[in-house]
């Protein structure tokens, strides 16, 4: 019984973070059509800013979320405005745009990672924050808090999507950008906004990850890979799918790593590849 309880708890805690990472990527692809393979690099930037402010300014990591989120949001808007929008204008078709924008994102992967390495070096850093555990199941407190933050972000985002004009515009643009444009939605603004929101989620996820694990400038790609797997699991472009996929992958990872930790990554990829072959639309895909 203890084992099952530990596996489920760890899976949910891990899954929450995975969901947040993947939701950002999914939003970027689902609406803005950019498969942002440099997503993990922005997570890394968020994590480093948080670590840096904690060690140098003694700023509470939960407060720095309010800084990293908006910072990444602005960065995302700028990136979209000056890079991806130009690529979109130049592209012959949406397929061509998806290809080119993904390749540009690969370029950013290298640029961001190496700029970060130039600033912070290649060392691994960690700090301790809320390093205790609670309840009889001994749930690590900081992971629980991180999960709570993810839940808050998810609720805010849900309310934003379903109850605001902008949210409606986003949903419209996701379904059919051309028609949305015809009925007066400023599509480029909406797409830029979504790209920015995706990066904001990356920034927040980075802040949370810096609390839980160690940080180093080459950590990004690993999280990009996880986000990709989750997104394929949940359905490329579906934000709800990303949340469900994240929790599922967290549970699976927890189960495999409980019994045979070295097989965890193999299991990820086996699931990932099987799913792509059998149901590329993902479990939540239409």
């Amino acid at each position: 019984m203890g084992a099952a309880r530990d596996i489920i708890i760890a899976g949910l805690l891990l899954g929450g973070i995975y969901a947040l990472i993947a939701a950002g990527l999914s939003l970027q692809y689902g609406v803005a059509r950019v498969l942002n393979v440099s997503h993990g690099e922005f997570i890394m930037i968020g994590a480093f800013i948080t670590w840096w402010m904690f060690t140098n300014l003694a700023l509470d990591p939960l407060i720095s979320i309010v800084i990293t989120g908006p910072l990444m949001f602005v960065l995302g808007i700028l990136l979209y405005r000056f890079i991806y929008r130009k690529i979109m204008v130049d592209s012959e078709s949406i397929d061509a745009f998806e290809g080119s924008s993904m390749l540009a994102a690969f370029g950013f992967l290298y640029v961001v990672q190496n700029v970060a390495r130039w600033i912070w070096g290649s060392n691994t850093y960690a700090y301790t924050y809320m390093a205790t555990s609670v309840t009889s199941a001994r749930i690590p407190l900081n992971r629980l808090v991180a999960l709570a933050v993810v839940a808050v972000v998810a609720i805010i985002f849900y309310v934003f999507l379903s109850h605001t004009r902008m949210g409606k515009a986003i949903r419209a643009s996701a379904q059919d950008p051309t028609t949305a444009g015809l009925v007066g939605v400023n599509v480029y603004r909406v797409l830029g906004l979504c790209f920015g929101l995706g990066l904001a989620m990356a920034g927040i996820a980075g802040s949370l990850l810096s609390i839980l694990y160690s940080v180093n400038t080459s950590m990004g790609l690993g999280y990009t890979v996880i986000a990709l797997i989750v997104v394929v699991l949940g359905g490329l472009g579906s934000v709800q799918g990303a949340f469900i996929g994240g929790i599922l992958l967290g549970l699976m990872s927890s189960l495999v790593s409980y019994y045979q930790p070295s097989m965890t990554m193999v299991a990820y990829y086996v699931v990932f590849i099987l799913l792509l072959l059998i149901r590329p639309k993902g479990i939540m895909g239409k």
């Binding site: 530990d6 891990l14 290649s122 960690a126 301790t128 180093n216 990872s253 790593s257 930790p261 070295s262």
Partner: protein
């Protein structure tokens, strides 16, 4: 429009290729004489640039000439992972050490080479292999054939060392290891008379010392986590060999992946098995979060030992008082010898103590000293003569007496094998004369 046929384009390409040959030949000449640009990559160059630049201007006037007397510097070359996945080693392991060594020698006027009848400063020639093994071997070829460097030292990581040593061997060049050490070195030295080890490794002699330490303090059971790569597999299998026949029981031996994220369940399982000692044969990326999870779950076995992890000053700086009691491989500190005390002081003055590696720092520097002194003892830049000196002579290094036992530094040359953090000092706790402090067992509680 036929003008733009494919053949034409191919022609252009191959003309470019041919042009490149010529250019490269020209560049090769250039590079042999001017050196400042390619020397010491940035990082903490302020001190490096001084002496290197002066020597470079001298060489510009006298192009490298093989005739005796026409040469003013001894050129040491290496391809290092300045960028890419292995850059952490160049930044924090061997990188700071070789820059410091070269400056130290040059401040004293250089190496005394009898053949030339004068002191010759060392000139560094460092290239970036981008953490790519193909680029690494290619650049060693370049260093030897085109730049005609006098001596080589190793690239970053064991796999790269083996590949580069093969190149060095084919040109009869000595290869002093850098961040490379593995039990397979025992096989390599049999086939390659030019490769020299520097670091301690699993059966040279860290794990045997660890086991005798465990016996001394009375450890009855061990749990092993190991990363599923070269390093982890070697340490875990040597540990298994060494522990069989003792009364210490292995409770579990679990492989973990390099990108393990969450240690909670592993630590909970370890706790239910409850061995006296937990060994983490992994890297900082795994060890830091593992220690974090232990603190968080308040699981405190009587002994915790990490592979590379605890040996870095960064470990103590990250965990603060919680680092106390944690053991790691290494090991040395300022108390180990007067030479190391003085070395620590100079390192701290030049960099920050936060960058210190209490495992590799001493052996890296000692290895470079051994090469430098072997050149002086041979009185020659001839590889075979220096090779002979390396194999037969004793060298006075910061670690004390230093000599080679089948191309590996003799086990007794190392200042220590196992260390333990005690009040912010990485104390050597090996049984025997190398010990700088008594081991604390069982380790203290995690600070609240």
């Amino acid at each position: 429009m036929m003008l733009r046929s494919r053949y034409w384009k191919l022609c252009v390409v191959f003309m470019l290729l041919a042009g490149a040959t010529v250019l490269f030949a020209a560049c090769g000449e250039d590079e042999a004489t001017t050196t400042t640009a390619a020397t010491a990559p940035d990082g903490s160059t302020d001190t490096t640039s001084g002496p290197t630049e002066t020597t470079a201007t001298e060489t510009t006037e006298t192009p490298t000439d093989t005739t005796l007397g026409g040469k003013d510097t001894v050129v040491w070359g290496a391809a290092r992972s300045i960028s890419g996945g292995q850059s952490i080693f160049e930044e924090t392991a061997m990188g700071p050490i070789y820059k410091m060594y070269v400056d130290d020698i040059n401040e004293a006027g250089g190496l005394e080479v009898a053949e030339y009848g004068k002191k010759m400063p060392i000139e560094l020639k460092i290239y970036d292999d981008q953490s790519s093994i193909d680029t690494c071997t290619r650049l060693y070829e370049k260093l030897i054939v085109e730049d005609k460097v006098d001596f080589l030292f190793g690239p970053t990581s064991t796999a790269f060392l083996y590949a580069a040593a093969e190149v060095a061997k084919s040109h009869h060049y000595i290869m002093m290891a850098a961040e490379g050490g593995a039990t397979s070195l025992h096989e390599q030295v049999k086939e390659n008379p030019y490769i020299f080890g520097d670091l301690q490794f699993a059966d040279w002699n860290q794990v045997p010392v660890l086991v005798s330490l465990m016996q001394e303090v009375g450890v009855k059971s061990v749990g092993i986590f190991y990363i599923d790569d070269l390093h982890g597999m070697e340490y875990s299998s040597v540990a298994e060999e060494e522990l069989t026949g003792t009364d210490i029981e292995i409770m579990f031996k679990t492989a973990i992946p390099g990108d393990i994220k969450d240690w909670t369940n592993q630590i909970k399982q370890a706790e239910s098995a409850n061995p006296d000692a937990i060994c983490l044969f992994a890297y900082p990326d795994q060890n830091f979060p593992a220690i974090g999870a232990m603190i968080q779950l308040d699981y405190n076995p009587k002994m915790i030992l990490t592979g590379p992890g605890a040996c870095y000053q960064a470990f103590a700086d990250s965990f603060g008082p919680a680092a106390d009691g944690v053991m790691g491989f290494g090991a040395w500190n300022a108390k180990s010898s007067p030479g190391l005390a003085e070395f620590t002081e100079r390192f701290e003055a030049r960099y920050t103590i936060g960058a210190m590696d209490w495992w590799g720092g001493a052996p890296y520097y000692s290895t470079l000293q051994a090469l430098g002194q072997a050149i002086e003892k041979a009185g020659s830049l001839d590889q075979e003569k220096v090779l002979h000196a390396l194999n037969t002579e004793h060298f006075q290094t910061i670690s004390g007496d230093w000599y080679y036992d089948t191309q590996l530094p003799a086990v007794e040359c190392y200042p220590g094998m196992v260390g333990q953090w005690q009040d912010g000092v990485f104390e050597v706790v090996d049984p025997g004369a190398k010990r700088t402090a008594e081991p604390i067992f069982p380790k203290m509680e995690w600070p609240k």
